[in-house]
Each structure stands twice: as C-alpha cells, then as structure tokens.
C-alpha cells in the first residue's frame, strides 16, 4: 500500500504534464476520426505510439545506464530548464492576455473545417488522415517522451514512476475522449500548462545544480522552496506585464 502511494506521488508530475499533451493529440485525432473515418487515424496513432516506445526505450535506457550520474544530472537539468522556461513563458504571456489562451474547441473546429475542405473518396485509404494522426501523436508524444525521460532519468525507480504517470494519463485521456467523442475542453489546460512549466523549471534548477557539483540543503526537500520562488516570480511577471500592457488581451501581438 505504501509502495503504491509512493509510486502515485512520484508519478504525479509526469501524469499532469503528459495529460496536457495527450489532450492536444486527442483533439486532432478526434477531428480526423469524426470527419474522415476512424481506420486511418487509428493506424497513424498506433504507428506513432510504436515510434515513441522505441525512442523512450533507446534514449531512456541509454541515459540511465550508460551516461555518468553527474553528466546525466546536468544534461537532464539543462533540458528541463529549457523545456520548462518555454512552457512557463507562454503560460505567463497567456495569463497576461498577450497571446491567446489555448482553446481545444477552437482547435478542433478549425481542424474539422480544414479536413472537410480537403474532401475524401470513400474507396481510397485515407493516407492524409493517417499522416495527420501520425504526425500529431508523434509530435505531442515526443513531448511526453521528453517529460518521461526528464522526470525519470535520475534513477530506475523514478523512470518507472514517470512512465506509470504518463501511461495513466494516456489511458484516462483517451478513455474520456472515446466516451465523449468530443475534445476535452473541461480540462483546465492553461492552468495545467502553467503548473507544469513551473514544475519543469523547478526540477531543471534542482538537477542542473546537482550536475555542476552543487548541493541543496535537505536534498529533494529543497524542491519546495524552489517551486515557491518560481511561483512568486511568475506572479510578479504577470503583474509586471499588466503594468506594461494594461490592455492585455486587446493587444493583437502574437509573436512577442
């Protein structure tokens, strides 16, 4: 029981982060399936999952077993920091109203419109549908693979937790999407992206420090104050943007 609880706690960061990516991939696969039939997008999604499994197996196992610990910590910390800062920056700009909030319903409707415009002959195998599903699942799945490797690279136990979290997220998101046959717009994606960005930056700072030979007082307990500082910084950044740009969402600036 204790072991299961520990695994669940360790798997949570990977679960939350992966859920966002699965929701995005599911929206596109749903759009293809609902407009052009299910066979081709399901084959595309399946092939992408196979490709991803190979990436995680090769990269994950190589990283954990071959690369020296300090080099691995520095590599993982650096990648997490880069990856996390990208997410956090976008989330902060969204909250300040400078870029549009992520809207699954809008993305779904736009994708359906584009797919309908392309047309489909009933006798043909839908290679376009398969390719779109493959590319989408592969791209979003690469981010999941990245999340799994980043959260799990520290040890075999953490890799197991990260993989479990990602798998659980995938099963739950796909099950809900299959049940509802509609994009999961009720998932608070923008908030989740912000939390994930803050978590990735926190882990990035932690592991990069360990990688360059630094030490944290209390070891992993230091993750909590680091996370608090990242959250406080985010709050300050949004306040700063509201001072610079009181107009917020009314500003049509997409590429800032």
């Amino acid at each position: 029981m204790e072991g299961t609880l520990a695994l669940a706690i360790a798997a949570t960061p990977s679960f939350i982060a992966s859920s966002v990516e699965f929701v995005e991939a599911t929206t596109i696969v749903l759009a293809v399936g609902m407009t052009r039939g299910w066979r081709a997008p399901l084959i595309g999604a399946f092939l992408a999952v196979l490709t991803l499994a190979a990436i995680v197996a090769v990269l994950g196992v190589t990283l954990v077993t071959v690369v020296p610990e300090h080099v691995l910590q520095l590599l993982v910390g650096t990648l997490l920091l880069l990856f996390g800062l990208r997410w956090l920056r976008k989330a902060l700009l969204r909250f300040a109203g400078i870029i549009a909030l992520h809207d699954e319903e809008l993305i779904y409707q736009r994708e359906v419109r584009e797919l309908r415009a392309q047309g489909l002959r009933k006798t043909d195998f839908d290679s376009i549908g398969m390719l779109i599903a493959y590319k989408t699942v592969l791209l979003e799945g690469t981010e999941v693979a990245f999340i799994v490797i980043a959260f799990g690279a520290a040890s075999v136990a953490e890799m197991t937790a990260a993989i479990s979290g990602a798998l659980a997220a995938g099963v739950i998101v796909v099950a809900f999407a299959a049940l509802l046959r509609h994009p999961l717009t009720m998932v608070p994606e923008n908030w989740m992206k912000f939390v994930v960005g803050a978590m990735l930056v926190t882990f990035g700072v932690f592991w990069a420090t360990e990688g360059i030979g630094g030490e944290w007082p209390g070891d992993a307990v230091a993750l909590f104050p680091i996370f608090a500082v990242v959250l406080a910084t985010s709050w300050t950044a949004v306040r700063l943007l509201r001072v610079v740009l009181p107009g917020g969402a009314r500003v049509e600036a997409r590429n800032v």
Binding site: T78, F83, T142, E143, V201, A208, L241
Partner: protein
Amino acid sequence: MSSLLRAIWDNTYGLLVDDGRLAVGALAAIAVSWIIAVASPSAQEIVGWVLLALVVALVLANIYAAGLNARRRAS
C-alpha cells in the same frame, strides 16, 4: 532524407526553444553557476540559489521585454 532530418531537428528545437534569448540566457546562467562551483568549492551550498536567482532575473527580464515588444507593436 535531409528534409526528414530537418523536420526532426525543427521539432526538437521547437520543443526546447520558443525564444532564443531565453534559451541562451538559461545556458549562460548554468555556465556562470558552474564556473562559481568550480572556482570556489566552498560555494557548493549556495550555487543552486545563485542559479535560481539568475533564472528568476532571466524570466522577469524576458517577460518585461516581451511586454514592451507587444506594446510597441500595438502602438
């Protein structure tokens, strides 16, 4: 083949970098912290906080610059 490699590179780069200045700044922050850790072994316990402070400054500076950029485009 080259277009496939290009697509893989673009996607990988896109995963990590949204704003090049932020990415370069993060790498520079790690490099500075590393130099401090190597130069002064007694600084091992503070180097993490130095890195965190640099990241905080980087995020605030980048977001402020993004806000100014947006305001300039809007006016």
